[in-house]
């Protein structure tokens, strides 16, 4: 076995051991398994949220896009930052309500607020639909890491199967406490790896990052700015806005906000988390260094750039360390995604749809049984797909962001949306997303004669506009009935 694979296997063993250890002493009820008994403080929630946010996507996808696209990759630095600012006001309100009503999942929130079980089922299905591509992204990342670390001895297909086996084992064994401890380990590793690669590579290979950027600017003019058309400033701004709004709509992110002990945890996090985003700078530096050092990767293989340049500059031991960090960045969010998807399918779809009084133990049992099933579906999709990590995430964001209007309009004391409005808005938004995706439409193809400022906009804007328009129209038409969100209490 080569040193890289050995290190990666060792990091998995440690993650598993932490998961088993963390579980001891906590009876595994559904609430314990998925929201950790609501007893986490600032540090743990910080780490958990960071754990979900620093995923394979940021690590491999971020460097991959810096390598393949240049400046458009900077959007990744923006949306998280703006979302944290928003969280200062949004999450305490959500947490207070969730805590008062002992809610476990995101769908529970919609059910309570709008007093509609069917809305809960729709929200659940939408969120699972969005989580699958996100999970596919993690598996793809695992596949890339293992196959690169083995220098091609393990094919990417085999690696994806191995990776999902690892993920399933991990989730079934640990639950959320395991994620939190592994997240601590993962954060230390990714911080270390990103800082080392991001400072050492530009300094050592190119004589400093100012030199590196100057070299890139000479070799690839225009690469360090947004192009005039295509991924232009209009694309950049609209993409950041959409992904910012969608940021907390992920059920696992929404759900991890329930784990907080009190609402000040979020406010402190809103101050700290933007700084944590700065790690991304070093991820970008690595991608840029790779562009000069290991050129020629195109299409989906841009996602390999970080590992290639590591191997090129340091050899197999360092590749092993980076691969181990990479494994954890796929394992933590991957386990959260898998766990959330299964809890949702079991508790918010099966239990509501099939029988109304399913005992808690059975819901937990089904959630666990679903873990390998959902993983298998994701593996099949992973092996079929051909998108870069960033494009996969952007597609998933278009789906999940559609939940934002219905959520935010339920928060005021006199809610603006009715249950019919919320339902119609979400369905119309998602139908538009599906139609746009299937036809491969862009703003340019929809409105060919409009100026570039419009045609470059992220096409997700169309779905959002449809969603909000339908939501408001239906809410207005149905508003004369008793105000459903309040009578729900």
């Amino acid at each position: 076995m080569n040193p890289a694979l050995l290190l990666i296997a060792a990091s998995f063993a440690i993650a598993l051991a932490l998961g088993i250890r963390a579980r001891r002493g906590h009876p595994m009820t559904l609430e314990q398994w998925s929201v950790g008994g609501r007893g986490f403080g600032t540090i743990f929630v910080f780490v958990l949220m960071a754990g979900e946010i620093y995923t394979t996507f940021t690590f491999l996808g971020g460097s991959g896009w810096a390598y393949g696209k240049g400046a458009p990759a900077f959007y990744i630095l923006c949306y998280g930052t703006l979302a944290y600012g928003m969280s200062y006001f949004l999450l305490p309100v959500v947490w207070r309500y969730a805590n008062a009503h002992a809610l476990v999942s995101q769908a529970d929130f919609f059910v309570r607020k709008y007093g509609s079980e069917s809305l809960g089922i729709v929200v659940s299905l939408v969120s699972v639909a969005a989580m699958i591509p996100y999970l596919v992204l993690q598996l793809k990342g695992l596949g890339i890491i293992v196959s690169e670390a083995s220098a091609g001895a393990i094919s990417s297909t085999e690696a994806v199967w191995a990776g999902s086996l690892v993920l399933v084992t991990y989730v079934v064994v640990s639950g959320v406490r395991g994620s939190a401890w592994t997240a601590v380990l993962k954060d230390i590793m990714i911080l270390g790896v990103a800082l080392v690669l991001g400072t050492y590579l530009p300094a050592h290979l190119h004589g400093g990052f100012d030199q590196m950027f100057a070299q890139i600017d000479r070799a690839h003019p225009g690469f360090l700015t947004l192009p005039r058309t295509g991924m232009s400033p209009a694309w950049f701004i609209s993409t950041v806005v959409l992904t910012t709004l969608g940021f907390y709509m992920w059920p696992h992110t929404f759900g991890s906000c329930y784990t907080a002990r009190n609402e000040n945890v979020f406010r402190r996090n809103a101050v700290l988390m933007p700084l944590y985003q700065l790690v991304l700078l070093f991820v970008f530096f690595t991608g840029f260094a790779a562009l000069l050092e290991v050129p020629g990767l195109t299409g989906t293989s841009v996602d390999l750039s970080l590992l290639r340049v590591t191997d090129h500059a340091f050899g197999p031991w360092m590749l092993g360390v980076v691969g181990a960090a990479g494994l954890l960045t796929a394992l933590v969010p991957g386990s959260m995604l898998l766990m959330s998807a299964c809890t949702i399918l079991s508790k918010n779809v099966y239990a509501k749809l099939v029988r109304r009084d399913v005992p808690d133990s059975q819901v937990t049992g089904l959630a666990r049984a679903l873990v390998p099933v959902v993983a298998l579906v994701s593996v099949v999709l992973t092996l079929r797909g051909g998108s870069t990590l960033v494009l996969l995430l952007l597609a998933a964001y278009n789906v999940v962001t559609q939940l934002f209007p219905a959520l935010v309009l339920s928060l005021p004391n006199r809610p603006i949306a009715t249950r019919q409005g919320a339902m119609a808005g979400i369905l119309a938004g998602e139908a538009t997303v599906v139609a746009l995706t299937l036809t491969g439409a862009t703003m340019g193809s929809l409105f060919p004669s409009w100026p570039a400022v419009i045609t470059d906009l992220n096409v997700g804007i169309v779905a959002m506009v449809v969603n909000v328009a339908v939501l408001l129209a239906v809410s207005w038409a149905t508003a004369r009935r008793p105000r459903s969100p309040q009578t729900a209490l």
């Binding site: 200062y88 101050v271 933007p274």
Partner: protein
């Protein structure tokens, strides 16, 4: 009213609204191409701004005599 809370929209306006104007390589600041510097500066400013709002919120809560933590 807590008017200072409106400060929270400054990052969105500064970071995104500035992109069309900051979309250039030169001047390099701290070795970063200007666009990347611009975005990074706003990431840091976001933390500062949110920290200010948090401090003011805490001060108000203490004045009200019943901190909510």
């Amino acid at each position: 009213m807590r008017l200072y809370r409106w400060l929270a929209i400054a990052p969105a306006i500064g970071m995104l609204g500035g992109v069309p104007f900051a979309n250039r390589v030169r001047p390099y600041v701290f070795g970063l191409p200007f666009l990347l510097f611009w975005v990074t500066a706003w990431v840091v400013l976001t933390s500062v701004i949110m920290g200010t709002i948090y401090a003011l919120d805490r001060a108000r809560e203490r004045d009200a005599g019943r901190g909510r933590s």
